[in-house]
Amino acid sequence: MIVEHPRSLLWRKILAHGFLICFIALILFPFLIVLSISFRPGNFSTGDLIPRQISLEHWSLALGIPYQMPNGAVLQPPFPVMLWLWNSIKIGMIASAGILMLSMTAAYAFSRMRFKGRGFILDSLLIIQMFPAALTVIALYTIFDALGNVTPIFGVDSHWSLILSYLSAITLHIWTIKGYFDSIDPAMDKAAQIDGATPWQTFRYVFLPMSVPILAVVFVLSFIFLVTEYPAAAVLLRETDNMTLAVGARQYLYEQRYLWGDFAAAAILSGLPITLVFLLAQRYLVSGLTEGGVKG
């Protein structure tokens, strides 16, 4: 233990806490404002951080319930927020399940099988994933526009198209799962092999049951990433009812139609579940990012 002067230590502690508290106050300011705005009546009102007059109109509209104003007028919800949230969750769940299946089988092969081009494919995946998805949306749009000529299920403005295109967001996950598989004792494989198991059976009956935690983490991470994805969803989803939350939320804040209060309530309502899931998963996110990226 380093000996420090008690007096200077106290000052330093006060300084550190003071700094952190000021910084956090600054950082959290936007959240507090938004919370306050969501309870203020009207879409243009200004006022104190703690609203003098509490109105539930924005919350009611965000939940999709028409709101009766004190003067008798009935406000209709401007946008189907709950439908958007449902779309986001649906697309995120299905695509994440697909991503999990693709990445875990690939990770197993990269971890346990020796084949030609293994190192090359692994390295290429790392490089390819750095290309910005936002710039390939023209091509993505053209591909699904063409497929839409054959069947509208895979055309533009279809959730299945978006899910299909999301299946490519697997590179980091392959690395994460591979890192975990690498840490499983090779004696397990040997034992399974001696019992006559094929590689598929080894994967299915030995590796999968042992990897449930890491697979759950990958599922959650992928889900969070997909729910917050914007460029591809913005290009592929056009109808208001088809939109995901990330695309739809933008609709609130157009210069001509500025629904600040309604946006605040909708943002909290829809952002809260995603934030909570993230906070639970965040410690794994970082280890996945650093470990997955560096392990060769």
Binding site: L147, V286, G293
Partner: protein, 521 residues
């Protein structure tokens, strides 16, 4: 750890016929998938998309070979993942570059065949054959009636549901009952368009208005050399494959156009056309500045906080940590939009507070420098927690003895940080900083949601903004404002891909070095 599932996994000793059955099921599934994909190949080919047809064909062959032949057992594990990456990342990157060499865009959207079909579908009405008609309601459908001098021509009963029909007309002496009133005929406007009536002399007439049927002929007739001859006024349209348009006799292009290869035309425009090059250069510089400053700012703030949080005498670390990573936990699309509202010039809370405290109302939306400052503030807010979390991890790997040694030498906290801590945590950080740079270089979502690139750079040929990054600029060319110029966007994207490719490779090399350094340590 044990492998509990092993003991209860006898499938290797399954009876033979089960294995045979499984094989049959497998081949059946492969067959069904292959047939389904063949349907797509055929459909894409018919739709004039031979490139995508070939890709789906290759996918189908890949599935049949990899899952059909025993020899490719290993490949079965990797095939789906690699295919997904190839089709939805590699193919779009290549296709985007390819589009850069074409004139693909809102004005040249269709294929040549579809443009020709569009012209051939233009109809001219022969007014001399025009005659009134009436619609008669019948038991389960309708009849068409063309009144003549005495009686008129009557069709058989048909269903008026929009499916194309050809009706033979018979001469009748009396005017039948049940004429549908005009206001109801209006409702059947589009359905009537699908009706062709055959007169007793064998000629066909179609609806030429709400009240009349007449002989309708195609305006254009296709000559052997591909020239379209206007049968009404004798003018011609000549296809010009160098621009992807039909030209009339005066040499003007006639919309719509089709896609053709234009070689390096788009790249020439980007690099040498002043109206585009000037804003491009400005946008490129801003993109690099933005990415660099974002990296430096998030790293500095993140490491500062991580260092403070690592301090052994600090209490309540867990609470601080959770509160500090909140900006990272809230979905970015929500927080960016929140900032968009807070920074609003007139009713944004930030300006209200600044106005109350200092009496100023900065013009975040229209002043270029303030708008750029705003994007950096928001991006630092969004990005520092990531750096902080990583920093906390790496700080733990700095041996405590080094700090003790520094303290014994009498170094203060600042000196210790720059001489002991930073040199040790920087090497493992390098790859992450490079990917952070690449990410911000293409941080399209931030710009699209926060400023949309505004305020605009004055006097440019295509809309370009002061806060536009190369990526958002390209996105706007493709999907907003400037009328969807995919070709130009493709060319710019290709240039960005080259930059990103270099960054990605540098990152890859850095990762390798970091891994090797770890291996040694």
């Amino acid at each position: 750890m044990t492998a509990p599932a092993l003991s209860e996994s006898p499938p290797a000793q399954l009876p033979r016929f089960r294995a045979g059955l499984a094989d049959i099921v497998r081949y059946l599934v492969i067959g069904v998938i292959a047939l389904g994909l063949m349907y797509f190949v055929w459909g894409l080919y018919l739709a004039g998309e031979p490139l995508f047809a070939v890709v789906v064909m290759a996918l189908m062959l890949g599935i049949v070979v990899v899952y059909g032949a025993r020899k490719f057992y290993t490949a079965r594990f990797v095939f789906p993942a690699v295919t997904a990456v190839l089709i939805f990342i590699a193919l779009p990157v290549l296709y985007t570059s390819y589009v850069g060499f074409t004139n693909f865009g809102a004005r040249n959207l269709l294929t040549f065949d579809r443009v020709t079909a569009y012209h051939m579908n233009q109809k001219a009405v022969d007014r001399s054959t025009e005659r009134p008609f009436a619609l008669l309601a019948a038991d389960d459908g309708y009849r068409l009636f063309l009144p003549g001098a005495e009686g008129g021509l009557l069709s058989e009963i048909f269903e008026l549901d929009g499916t194309p029909v050809t009706l033979k007309l018979q001469l009748v002496a009396v005017v039948p009952d049940g004429i549908v009133p005009m206001r109801d005929v209006v409702k059947f406007r589009s359905q009537l368009g699908a009706v062709t009536a055959e007169l007793p002399d064998g000629s066909d007439i179609q609806a030429s208005g709400l009240r009349s049927f007449a002989k309708v002929t195609s305006v254009y007739e296709r000559q052997d050399d591909g020239v379209l001859l206007n049968t009404v006024d004798g003018s011609t349209l000549t296809p010009d494959d160098s621009v992807g348009f039909y030209r009339n006799e005066a040499g003007q292009t006639v919309a719509p156009g089709w896609r053709v290869h234009v070689g390096l035309e788009n790249f020439r425009r980007v690099l040498f056309n002043d109206g585009i090059r000037q804003p491009m250069l400005q946008i490129f510089l801003w993109t690099v500045t933005f990415a660099t400053l974002s990296m430096v700012l998030t790293f500095s703030v993140g490491i500062l906080l991580a260092s403070v949080l690592q301090w052994e005498h600090l209490r309540g670390k867990a609470v601080y940590r959770i509160l500090l990573i909140l900006p990272y936990a809230v979905p970015a699309f929500i927080s960016i939009l929140v900032f968009r509202g807070l920074f609003n010039q007139n009713f944004g809370e930030i300006n209200l507070i600044l106005d109350g405290l200092f009496g100023v109302k900065p013009n975040w939306g229209t002043d270029p420098n303030l708008a750029r400052a705003m994007t950096l503030i928001v991006n630092t807010w969004l990005g520092y927690p990531y750096m902080m979390l990583l920093g906390m991890g790496y700080l733990q790997s700095v041996p405590a003895e080094h700090y003790k040694a520094a303290a014994l030498e009498g170094a203060g906290p600042v000196r210790t940080f720059f001489s002991v801590t930073l040199p040790q945590i920087l090497p493992p950080f390098v790859p992450l900083l490079i990917s952070n740079f690449a990410f911000n270089f293409n941080n399209v979502v931030l710009i699209l949601l926060l400023t949309r690139g505004l305020p605009d750079i004055p006097g440019t040929q295509i809309p370009a903004g002061q806060t536009d990054l190369l990526g958002s600029f390209t996105y706007r060319i493709s999907f907003q404002d400037a009328g969807q110029n995919f070709g130009l966007a493709g060319a710019i994207s290709t240039l960005i891909f080259i930059v990103v490719g270099i960054i990605a490779y540098a990152n890859f090399v850095a990762l390798r070095r970091a891994a090797e350094a770890r291996g040694r340590g």
